[in-house]
Every structure is written in C-alpha cells, then in structure tokens.
C-alpha cells in the first residue's frame, strides 16, 4: 500500500468516494474548497453525483433528500456555511437519516476569517440546530485520520441512522501528510429497508421529521434518546499518551492535540510529568475515562483554539476531582507548544488559581 502525499481536504474526499459516496452537495467557502474541487473532478467519473448548490441551505436539503433515498451522501463547508445548514441538520437527525457533514472550521463568530479555529465545538456537540438531537462528532488529528474517520463516519451513520459530523479545522484541511488507503475496495454498506427508493411491491416508506401529536412525539423522542445512550455506550473513542504517571494531563482534539503533543514532548525532556488525552469522538465524549484519570494532585489542561468550549465537557467529566485549566488562542491564531509548556509550568509551580 503506497503512501500518497495529500492535503487533508483531499484525503477526506478520496476516502468518501472509496466509501461508496453517491452524492456530494456543497457550496464554496475557504478553507474547505479542496473538498468540492476534488469531488467535482473525481466523483462523476466514479459513479456519483457532484452538484454545487445555490446555497448551503439548499445543499443540506439535497443531502436530506439523498439520505432519505438511502444512498451514501455528504456535504462539506466551513463555519459560517455550517451555521446555515443547521436547520437541515436538525431535520435529518429527527428523521434518523445517515449522512456525513464536514466542517473545516475557521475563525468566527460572524463572517470571521479563514484561519484555523475550533470555535464550533458547542455547535457541533451540543446541538447547533433546534431540538433534542445529537450528532456523532469525529475529530481527526492528522491527514490519515481525515481519511480514516470519514470512512468510519459513513459506517457509523449507517449503523445508527444518524448524521455524523467530521469536525476538522483549517490546518488539518490545508496541510499535507502521507496517507495510505486500504486497497481492498470493500464498501461496508448496510441494507436500508426504510429508504424511500421506490415502493413497488411493498408498503410505502415515509421519511419525515414532523411530529405533531405530543404523546406520540414524546415516545419518538424517548426512542431517539435510547439510541443516543447506545451510541454513548458503544462508540466512544480516544487516545492517550503518558497519562499513567502524569501530574498534568493535556486535553485537546484536532490541531490543538498536535500542539499539545509537542508541548508534552518538550515537557518530558525537562523531566516534567505531562501526559496527553485526545478525544477522537467529541460526541460521545470520553467522559468515563477522563473521570477515571481524575485524582487529587493531578491537573488537567484543556488546549483549545476557542474561548474554552471543550473544557466544559472536561470539567463535567472530572466533576471537581481535579482542577481543569485552559491554554488557548483565538481569532485564527494557533497555540504554540511553548505557550502550552509555560502554562504547564505555571500549574506545577502553583502560579495559577
């Protein structure tokens, strides 16, 4: 299996096509433009439909339609564009349809800028659209994972009949690293007896998110919540390094986890006991393992490219057993390993409250 040097956005696109993608609907926005560009070039030649919609709202509703028809479908955008898609995402979650939504996050709020950021964490894991729903949220940490988690995303979407979000950022989208694709060409698609793909010879299927009778709506909600509990029980993923003896555990996802990893290496060289905990699923969040790692005398340091969003989930998991601090940069600035290391020193020397 040959290594290919690719941008994260391209690796993700190639993985989606290999996963049996049949339809891609999108609208241009930096820094995710390599995704629609790759799709436009390759998808029609490999048995799929590429369509640039007239807006993000239109694109997500095309996804809704294609997902209802039971085909593997995807859309991609960056922060302001993802905001526009939220209504459609809520409908898709309510109708329990599988699809993959990619957010290559840039700095916000508002139109913001085009530089890498992580300010869409709340939107991705806490809702974003209206109502009680959840997305499965996967956070790649390198170009290989941009590919691998996209493949996994399609499988999880089908398995749970739930939209999956790939929460990336401008660095992971724009950077190049070697990536290896499995050569077996197998597509792990499941039967979709619920799909609205022609009712000849059977009862017609209905895909809908309208639920107007309260007692029935409540029962449907409870079924949805039961599914979310099962996902929480089965799909939590994370990675940890040097956590066993750590006095300070850095917690970060995506690009921040890479900066944190460099900071951990610098710290270990100085003899400081620093570990790294990297959530791969942001929802479900690896709260149980973080709770196990929490203990007196140990601190956590959330590393983020946002005002401190993931840190709230770390605090909920740790539940007051250990202090949780924040090292962050905003506005499209990327934290440096030296910044994080300085914060670690402050914690170890008792210079933080």
């Amino acid at each position: 299996m040959a290594k290919i040097l690719m941008k994260g956005n391209e690796a993700l696109s190639e993985a989606a096509i290999r996963a049996g993608l049949k339809a891609f609907y999108g609208y241009p926005i930096t820094p995710q433009n390599e995704v629609p560009a790759y799709m436009a070039e390759h998808l029609p030649l490999r048995g799929g439909v590429y369509l640039q919609a007239e807006s993000e709202v239109s694109a997500i509703n095309m996804v809704y339609g294609a997902a209802g028809a039971g085909v593997r479908v995807m859309t991609s955008s960056s922060s302001p564009g993802i905001s526009l898609k939220q209504e459609g995402i809520s409908y898709i979650a309510a109708a329990q349809l599988p699809c993959v939504i990619v957010n290559v996050v840039r700095n916000g709020p508002g139109l913001g800028g085009i530089q890498p950021a992580q300010g869409d964490y709340f939107q991705a894991v806490k809702g974003g659209g209206h109502g009680d729903y959840r997305l499965i949220v996967l956070a790649p940490g390198n170009v290989q994972e941009m590919a691998d988690l996209t493949t996994l995303g399609f499988d999880l979407a089908d398995k749970w009949r739930n939209p999956v979000m790939i929460l990336s950022d401008g660095i992971l989208g724009q950077m190049m690293e070697p990536v290896v694709f499995s050569e077996d060409g197998a597509v792990s698609e499941v039967d979709k007896p619920w799909a609205t793909n022609g009712a000849a010879g059977r009862e017609r299927n209905i895909v809908n998110s309208l639920d107007i009778i309260p007692d029935k709506a409540e029962k449907n909600m409870l079924r949805l919540l039961e599914k979310y509990d099962q996902i929480k029980a089965e799909e939590v993923r994370w990675q940890e390094h040097n956590t066993e003896d750590a006095d300070v555990i850095l917690v970060g996802y995506g690009t921040s986890a890479r900066v944190a990893r460099s900071a951990m290496e610098l710290a270990r060289k100085e003899g400081l006991k620093v570990g790294l905990f990297r959530p791969i699923t942001l929802w479900p969040f690896p709260e149980q393992r973080l709770a196990e790692l929490a203990k007196a005398g140990r601190s956590f340091l959330a590393v983020e490219m946002s005002a401190g969003q993931m840190i709230e989930d770390v605090r909920l998991a740790v539940n007051g057993v250990s202090p949780v601090h924040l090292s962050n940069r905003l506005g499209g600035m990327v934290p440096t390993p030296e910044d994080v290391l300085e914060k670690v020193r402050e914690i170890l020397e008792g210079r933080v409250s």
């Binding site: 950077m175 951990m264 990327v334 030296e338």
Partner: protein
C-alpha cells in the same frame, strides 16, 4: 527533527520547494508534514510554508521556532531571521535581499539564487538552487530522494526539466 520554514513572494516556488522536501522525506519513510500559509495571498504577495521531517509522529505542523529558514525575499528575511532557533540555519537569497544577519548564534548562508538561476537560463529554478545549499549544509533528506520526488511531483510532460533542476541543485551546493 527538522522544522523548516520557507518564505518568499508568491510565484517564487516557495510552496513547491516545501513540497519537494516533504515528498523526499516521505520517500525515506520519515514522518513528514507540510502546511502552507493560506491567507488572502496572491502572486507577488508574501507566502510561506512549514515543513517538519521527523523520525516519529509529528506534533504541531506549524513551525514557530525553525531549525532552518530559507528566505527568498526581503520581507521574509525581516520576519523569519529573528525566529530561527539557536544553532539553526538561515539560507537567504542574496540576489533579492541586500541585508546581513547580525546574529552570531546561527549559521547564515547567502546564496545569489536568482543570479544562478538566470545563468542556467530559467529564473524559476532559484528555489532549487537554495535546496542544493540546504542539502549540502544539512542531511535533512538525500539528493537521490529529491530526484525521485521530482519525477513524482512533476507531470510527465515536464520531466525534460529534471536535469535543469538537478543542475540548479548542484550549483547551490557550492555556497556554504
């Protein structure tokens, strides 16, 4: 671990030079990453890229304290010369940069890259001249790997340019 910043005007081959080093590292089975500045740049504007070549998994792909900086124009010299880490290397294009480094804690090599490229008959190989200087000064990647990378990165119809690129690289080696 080599943490390299390459910077210059858009159109000088800054990003491609970074990709060549990255590709060569990949051929040698090293861990590699390449990250471009991707602001609202355009031809004539400034641009740069970060390249990391390591034995193990790479942390931050954004280089903040470069072990080597290759700078191709004056604004990039001003921006990155002070950032090179102690004991590091600064290679700069003296055809376009009329400055001297005051630093005594890094190695500084001035290369008239544009002048050499012009002598070779193609201004676009100035970046390869600087790569030659880098290959001689450090062992970040092997010359054979660069030659292989050129074959992979250049489309087949441009393979006739490989000898010229390798010639430019050889000329760059002389400056140390």
């Amino acid at each position: 671990m080599a943490e390299i910043i390459i910077a210059g005007f858009g159109g000088q081959g800054v990003l491609v030079l970074g990709q060549m080093i990255t590709y060569s590292g990949m051929i040698e089975d090293k861990a590699v990453s390449w990250f471009p500045s991707y602001g609202p740049e355009q031809r004539g504007g400034t641009c740069n890229c970060s390249v990391v070549i390591a034995e193990d998994e790479i942390g931050s792909p954004l280089v903040t304290v470069p072990t080597t900086a290759i700078v191709m124009n004056a604004p990039s010299f001003d921006r990155f010369e002070p950032k090179v880490g102690k004991g590091g290397l600064l290679i700069y294009n003296s055809s376009l940069i009329d400055k001297k480094s005051e630093r005594d804690d890094i190695r500084v090599i001035a290369v008239p890259a544009n002048q050499i490229a012009d002598e070779l008959g193609n201004a676009r190989v100035a970046n390869m001249v600087l790569l030659g200087t880098l290959l001689e000064a450090t062992n970040v990647v092997k010359t054979e790997s660069v030659e292989k990378a050129l074959k992979n990165v250049l489309s087949e119809r441009h393979h006739d340019l490989i000898p010229l690129n390798m010639q430019a690289l050889e000329r760059g080696r002389a400056y140390q």
